[in-house]
Amino acid sequence: MTRKITFMQAINEALDQSMDRDNNVILLGEDIAGGATIDHLGNEGAWGGVFGVTKGLVEKHGRERVIDTPISEMGYMGAAVGAAATGLRPVPELMFNDFIGFCFDTLLAQGSKMRYMFGGKAKIPMTVRTCHGAGASAAAQHSGSYYGMLGSIPGIKVVVPSNPYDAKGLLNAAIEDDNIVIFSEDKTLYGIKDEVPEDYYTVEIGKAKVKREGSDLTIVTIGKMLYVANEVADTLEKEGISVEVIDLVTAAPWDQETIISSVKKTGRLIIIDEANPHNNTATDISAVVANKAFDYLDGPIKCVCAPNTPVPFATNLEQLYLPNKDKVLDVASELIEDLKKS
C-alpha cells in the first residue's frame, strides 16, 4: 500500500519503523521530543524537532529512546559515536548542518577514523540527520549546504534525498548501515508530497538514479536541484534536446558508474549543486569525469552552484543565490550550440 505523504512524514515514518525493528536504535537531539521532564506534558513531546520531523515519536517510543539533549552538540554527537562503538545504533539530529562547527571533531577525527585507526576492529553504525539549504530566509548561519564538505571525509557516507520515497528508503538504509551516514534533508522540501509505501523498505545507498533518460545532455543533481533540472529538461525538450537527468542520491561516495556511463552516451555534462562553488560535490564529479570519460566529452563540463558567498538574508538576494532554471539554461546553451545548428 502506498499513499501520498510529505517528505517530512516519510522521514518520520522511517524513524518510527526503524525503531520498531531494532531496539538498539535511539534518537538524540535538541528538542526532538521537547519539553523533557515537564509535568503537564509527561511523555507528550512539546516540539518534535524544530520543523516537527520527529513529532509523535516520543509518545510512541518513550523518552529513553527519543532523547532531548542539552545544547551540547559536541557532547551528544560524540556520545552517539561512543554509543555506536559499543553497540547501539544512534540517530543523532544536528538541527541545522550549519552547526557542524560545534561537533566537527566527533565526525572528522573520531567517528570516521575509528575503524581505520583501530585496525578494522570498530564499527560506528550511526546516522546523523541534519538539514541544509537556502530558500527559507534563515540567513547565513542556518542556510548553508555542507553535505559536500562532510562527504570529503573518508569513512563517512552522505545521502541527500530529493523526494519522499527516497527519503524513507534511504533513511532506513542509513540506519541499517554499519557506517556513519549523514542524512541531509533540504529544509525547503519538508512539505512536498508523493507516493510512499506504508511498509518498511530500503533504497540502496551509493546508487544514483536516472530520473529521465536522454541522449544529448546529462544533468546530475543533488537533492532539491533535481527539480531545477526537470524544469530545464522540459524546456530543452521543447527545443528538441534530449536530456538525461540523474539524481545523485548519495553524495559520498557517489556513483561513478552511473554518471560516467551517462556521459559516455550524451557527451555533455552539467552538475547542479547548491553548495558554495569550490571543493564541492559538483567539482568532484567534474574532476572524475574529466579524468575517466574525457574522450567521450563533446564540450566543457559545467557546474552550476551557489556563488562564493554566505547565504544572504534578503529574499531577493537569496533567490539570486540559488541555482535556478535560467542559470542552468545559460550554461546549457553553450554546450548544445552545435546540436541546435544541426
Binding site: T37, H40, D68, Q141, A314
Partner: protein, 322 residues
C-alpha cells in the same frame, strides 16, 4: 543598592519601552506574513538588557544571541536600521544581508546577534583581550541564555577570561527554557550562577524582572571588570513573553503555579511603578516616554516598508576586504 539618577531612569524606561514596542510590533507584522525567516523576540526580558547596558558606553562591547533585538536597542542601535534589517531592506543595519539573527553595529560596540547558540563566548573573550591589551578601561558584556550555558564555549570562554582577568561580564538570561527544554532538565547545576565556582570568580543570581537588581549586580560586575579584577557571572532569572520563535505553540509553558506567576510579572510595569514611587520619573514623563516610543517604532516600520530591497550586485559584495 545604587540609587538610579533621574536621567538614567529615563534612559532605561525609554529603552525598555522601545524594546517592548519593537517586539510587539515585529510579532504583529510577522504574524501577518510580511517578515520572512526566524525571529526570536526579546519581549519580557527588557530589564536584563537595559539594566546591564545602562552601565556601558559606545566604547564598551557586547556580544548577543539569536534573541538579540533587546540587546541591540539597549546598546544604542538605530531602530530604523534594525527594523529595515528585519525586513531585509537595503537601509538595514547590515544592508539587509544579515536579518534578525545577525544584526550588528560595531561602531556602537554591538558585536552582533548570533545565530549560533554560545557563539558569543569566545568573541567576547577576544574583545576583552583587546580591551586589556590596548590598556583601555572598556568592558565587554557577553549575553547568553540558560541553554547556551551547556555549550563547551561557556566553559572555555569563562575559564580564559578568568585566568587572564579580562574585563568581561557574563550575563546569563535564564528564561527557564531553551526552545522547549527546561533549564532544570538540561543543566546539572541548580543555578547557572553556581558554575562560577568552577572558575573561582564571583557568581550571582538575581531577579531578572527587577530592573534595580539587575542594575546593581551589573554595576558591580562592570566596575570590577573596569578595574582589571576580572570577570563575573551574573544569572538573571527572567521569562520570554512570546514563544521561542514566532510560530511556537508553547505547550511547554506552565499554565499555573510559580512559573506562571513569574511569567505574569512585567518588568516594565514594575519599573514604572518603582521609578514613579521613587520620584525618578513623573507620571507625565513616563507617559511621554511610552508615547514617544510607540511613535519611534511606528516610524521605524514606516522607514523599513518604504526602503528598497538590496541591489542585486550586493549578493557578491562584502565577502572579502579587497
Amino acid at each position: 543598592m545604587k540609587k538610579l539618577t533621574k536621567q538614567k531612569a529615563a534612559w532605561i524606561y525609554e529603552k525598555m519601552n522601545d524594546i517592548r514596542n519593537f517586539e510587539d510590533e515585529v510579532h504583529r507584522i510577522f504574524t501577518s506574513g510580511e517578515i520572512p525567516g526566524f525571529v526570536h523576540l526579546y519581549a519580557g526580558e527588557e530589564a536584563v538588557a537595559t539594566g546591564v547596558c545602562a552601565h556601558l558606553t559606545d566604547a564598551d562591547y557586547i556580544t548577543s544571541t539569536h534573541r538579540g533585538h533587546g540587546h541591540c536597542i539597549a546598546k544604542g542601535c538605530d531602530l530604523n536600521g534594525m527594523m529595515a534589517e528585519i525586513y531585509g531592506k537595503e537601509t538595514g543595519l547590515c544592508k539587509g544581508k544579515g536579518g534578525s539573527m545577525h544584526i550588528a553595529d560595531i561602531d556602537k560596540g554591538m558585536l552582533g546577534a548570533n545565530g549560533m547558540v554560545g557563539g558569543g563566548f569566545p568573541i567576547a573573550v577576544g574583545a576583552g583581550l583587546r580591551n586589556q591589551y590596548l590598556k583601555t578601561d572598556s568592558v565587554v558584556v557577553c549575553f547568553f541564555g540558560d541553554g547556551a550555558a551547556n555549550e563547551g564555549g561557556f566553559h572555555e570562554g569563562i575559564n580564559m577570561a578568568a585566568i587572564w582577568k579580562l574585563p568581561v561580564v557574563f550575563v546569563c538570561e535564564n528564561n527557564m527554557f531553551a526552545e522547549s527544554t527546561p533549564q532544570s532538565y538540561s543543566s546539572a547545576s541548580k543555578t547557572i550562577a553556581q558554575r562560577a565556582a568552577a572558575y573561582d570568580i564571583p557568581g550571582v543570581k538575581v531577579d531578572g524582572m527587577n530592573l534595580q537588581e539587575v542594575y546593581d549586580a551589573a554595576g558591580e560586575a562592570v566596575e570590577r571588570a573596569r578595574k582589571g579584577e576580572g570577570p563575573t557571572l551574573i544569572e538573571c532569572f527572567t521569562y520570554r513573553k512570546y514563544g521561542h520563535f514566532e510560530g511556537d505553540e508553547q505547550k511547554y509553558k506552565a499554565k499555573e503555579g510559580p512559573e506562571k506567576e513569574h511569567a505574569d510579572t512585567d518588568c516594565i510595569e514594575l519599573f514604572r511603578k518603582q521609578a514613579i514611587d521613587e520620584r525618578l520619573l513623573t507620571v507625565k514623563q513616563a507617559d511621554d516616554i511610552e508615547e514617544k516610543s510607540r511613535q519611534d517604532v511606528a516610524a521605524a516600520i514606516q522607514f523599513a516598508e518604504d526602503s528598497p530591497v538590496p541591489r542585486p550586485e550586493a549578493l557578491l559584495e562584502d565577502v572579502y576586504v579587497d
